[in-house]
């Protein structure tokens, strides 16, 4: 019976475990214990790794990679806005939302990969600075949450059946959550640049 339940409610059980894990991490102050141990990695990233070396030595390379990061962010924003504004019933209302969400997902995956790859390069160039910035860690958390939400929750649900069966309020909630989390990733990323 338990096996049946776990089989039928994989996503809910998985989400439950994640929430429990986060609660335990906060309760037992695991974050504070792990944080000092990450400093050597960040210092290695900046001063010893080849990406850190490239970023520090060649400012033009760093700036070009940042520009690619911005373009990837723009494409992510475009795909997220088109798909989610369709789910909200604001844009492209005459086209089935299933077509829009499936059609933009591939582009979203490629641009997210590019954004993550260029983001690692950009972070490596200033690794010793971003380690101490709370806004950097908020961005990483938002990026992780947004990616997991997109790939394990939102897209599987949207691909599982016709959107008419899912319910309009459910779709709206998904769209608002998606837009909010990706806006947070972009805005906190911008704020890193100001800090």
């Amino acid at each position: 019976m338990l096996g049946n339940f776990l089989n039928n409610y994989k996503s809910v059980v998985g989400l439950g475990f994640v929430v429990l894990a986060v609660a335990l991490v906060e309760f037992f102050e695991v974050r504070a214990a792990v944080y000092p141990g990450l400093l050597p990695f960040f210092e290695w990233l900046k001063y010893s790794s080849w990406i850190g070396y490239l970023g520090i030595t060649y400012g033009s390379v760093y700036a070009t990679v940042q520009a690619v990061h911005l373009v990837s962010m723009a494409i992510i924003g475009g795909t997220v806005l088109v798909a989610d504004l369709r789910l909200l019933g604001i844009l492209l209302k005459d086209i089935p939302s299933e077509t829009i969400t499936k059609g933009t997902h591939q582009c979203f995956k490629y641009s997210l990969s590019a954004a993550i790859a260029t983001g690692i390069f950009c972070a490596a160039g200033v690794a010793d600075k971003v380690y101490y910035m709370p806004v950097f860690w908020i961005k990483m958390l938002a990026l992780l949450a947004g990616s997991c939400f997109m790939f394990f929750i939102k897209q599987p649900l949207l691909n599982s059946r016709p959107h008419k069966e899912i319910g309009p309020w459910m779709l709206r909630m998904l769209a608002v959550a998606s837009i909010s989390i990706w806006f947070t990733v972009a805005a906190t990323g911008r704020w890193i640049g100001f800090s």
Binding site: G59, S60, A63, T64, Q66, A67, L70, V71, M73, A74, I75, I76, G77, G78, T79, V80, L81, V82, L85, L91, L92, D94, I95, T99, I100, G103, T104, Q106, C107, F183, A186, A187, R190, W191, F194
Partner: protein, 215 residues
């Protein structure tokens, strides 16, 4: 043969620079004077010296990229058949036109305010000048692209890729807008700032009037 062609091009370019130096030099001086006039204004100084004003302005300018260029790239990608291939291309272009225009309007307003806040720095920035040239070219390309799209028969709408002229326009658009974003990203860097440059062509291109007069 190649060396001869290269030296001829260099000579022609030098003659062009010398002939146009006078008129371009005048334009550079006028631009600098106008920028210095703007910089002396109270509201320009307020924008720069405010605790958060500059940051919010720049953040809005950059974040609105997602709306403006995001929509534009979706349209271009559709023309190339990379996204939403089952959806009519003219429908995508039509529906995304409004959010794109809203995004570009916000970027235009914030961009003007950003230049108004730091006018001398921007006017004498090589990257800013290249960005403005690329912007003009991008808008011309967009106008040509739109005209071609309206003139084209709608029979290709359901095709996976648009006809070659529209695909060319989409590729040019992608390159120009990536260039605009890259040049915008380079503006804060000081590699070719006026005090750091001694090359005459670079000083002329950046509008470094004082350094050029000192030479």
């Amino acid at each position: 043969m190649r060396k001869d062609v290269y030296s001829s091009v260099k000579i022609i370019f030098r003659i062009f620079i010398l002939r146009s130096k006078g008129s371009i030099g005048v334009i550079n001086e006028l631009l600098l004077q106008f920028a210095q006039y703007l910089e002396a204004q109270e509201y320009s100084q307020m924008l720069v010296s405010g605790y958060y004003s500059w940051n919010w302005l720049e953040a809005t300018h950059v974040l609105t990229l997602m709306i403006s260029i995001g929509s534009l790239f979706i349209i271009d990608f559709r023309m190339l058949g990379w996204v939403l291939p089952g959806v009519s291309a003219t429908t995508i272009a039509d529906r995304l036109h409004k959010p794109m225009i809203i995004g570009f309007s916000i970027m235009f307003i914030t961009g003007i305010l950003l230049v108004y806040a730091k006018p001398v720095e921007n006017v004498q920035s090589l990257w800013f000048r290249i960005k403005m040239i690329l912007l003009v070219l991008a808008f011309i390309n967009a106008w040509v692209f739109n005209s071609r799209m309206r003139a084209a028969d709608g029979t290709w709408d359901s095709a996976r890729v648009a006809p070659k002229p529209l695909r060319t326009g989409a590729i040019i658009s992608l390159f120009l807008w990536c260039g605009v974003v890259a040049m915008g990203r380079f503006i804060p860097y000081d590699w070719v700032d006026c005090p750091k440059v001694s090359n005459t062509a670079l000083l002329w291109a950046s509008g470094c009037v004082e350094q050029l007069n000192a030479l």
